[in-house]
Symmetry: C2
Amino acid sequence: MDETLVKAMVEDIKLREERSAMPVPVGISNRHVHLTKEDFKTLFGADCDDTQLKPVKQPGQYACNELFDLEGPKGSIKGVRMIGPYRKYSQVEVSAADARRLGVEPPIRDSGKLENTPGIKLVGPKGTVTLTRGLIMSKRHIHFQTREAEAFKVKDGQEVRVLCGRGTEREAIYERVLCRVLDSFSLELHLDVEEANAAGMKNGDPAFIV
Amino acid sequence: MDETLVKAMVEDIKLREERSAMPVPVGISNRHVHLTKEDFKTLFGADCDDTQLKPVKQPGQYACNELFDLEGPKGSIKGVRMIGPYRKYSQVEVSAADARRLGVEPPIRDSGKLENTPGIKLVGPKGTVTLTRGLIMSKRHIHFQTREAEAFKVKDGQEVRVLCGRGTEREAIYERVLCRVLDSFSLELHLDVEEANAAGMKNGDPAFIV
């Protein structure tokens, strides 16, 4: 047999074994919105700033107290939250079920990749914002702090397959899960509610890169 | 090398190739209920029988016009349909999201396996039925007509892995999908709405046993 090939196969098996011992906790994302400061103030008033309801796992980010509505051509969804702090772009992340309810057809996109995405109307207590783009279904992804990515031997932008619900009735493998690496991130697999439910996952449950 | 092992491996590869050329169409199940004749008449009146809205793919089965509500400890779901005809047992099939909304914790079960399942209250225009058991989340399954099962070389009760959303952003492999074989069945992978959305599947899209 080809020695180089055998060596590569052994390395691959070793890598799989290493990763299978390193669970990635799941964080389940309900529909949410990121807003520019300007859009926030249009919805809640020029003298208003966002206030924190509770932190989320990604350092420095938090769910806000302020609620607003999404209005689509076929229906609306009330009581949607911003994940703060403000961003340089406004972005609305919904599930497939939400999209059907609103009557919109967002593409599946990595956060911030908003070229050729549809818009949506946001209705707050003090005003309305009609985004011309920014409506997406989030592509499944894992956040890695830089050192965590080194331990997993993954690079920013790489896609991996992830085993969810291991050993349960709803065990599933999600393909093409995007790896996102940044010093300010913390290890977490982000799934939307439907993806989590389909694999029988609750917040904090372990997933495995396979 | 061991000749028997090599032969088994070749057979396995051949079987996988055969199956990969035979797509299984997906049928997406929204929440629905099967009812005994007695329970139906309690909900809709003794002089009433079910009427067909539209047939579903499984021969002889149909969605009914008659609507009723599910009432759980935390919330209710309005406008639920029976899939007819009447059965020997009443069974309520909901998604994980539905279960949360109702405030109930049904297990994942094969249809008809109702031992130790919770009940739920059904409210119709003429009366109320409080089931003491029968509330489940349906285990993912494939219906095979007997000859279709022979072509796929699967047996009733066997579990298989199924590739969904092949080539899409939401490609996924669902493990432990139950094979159900009956002369009166027609080839169809049954997923609930969340499972279908998580894999980016629409009604009739192809899945593959892998």
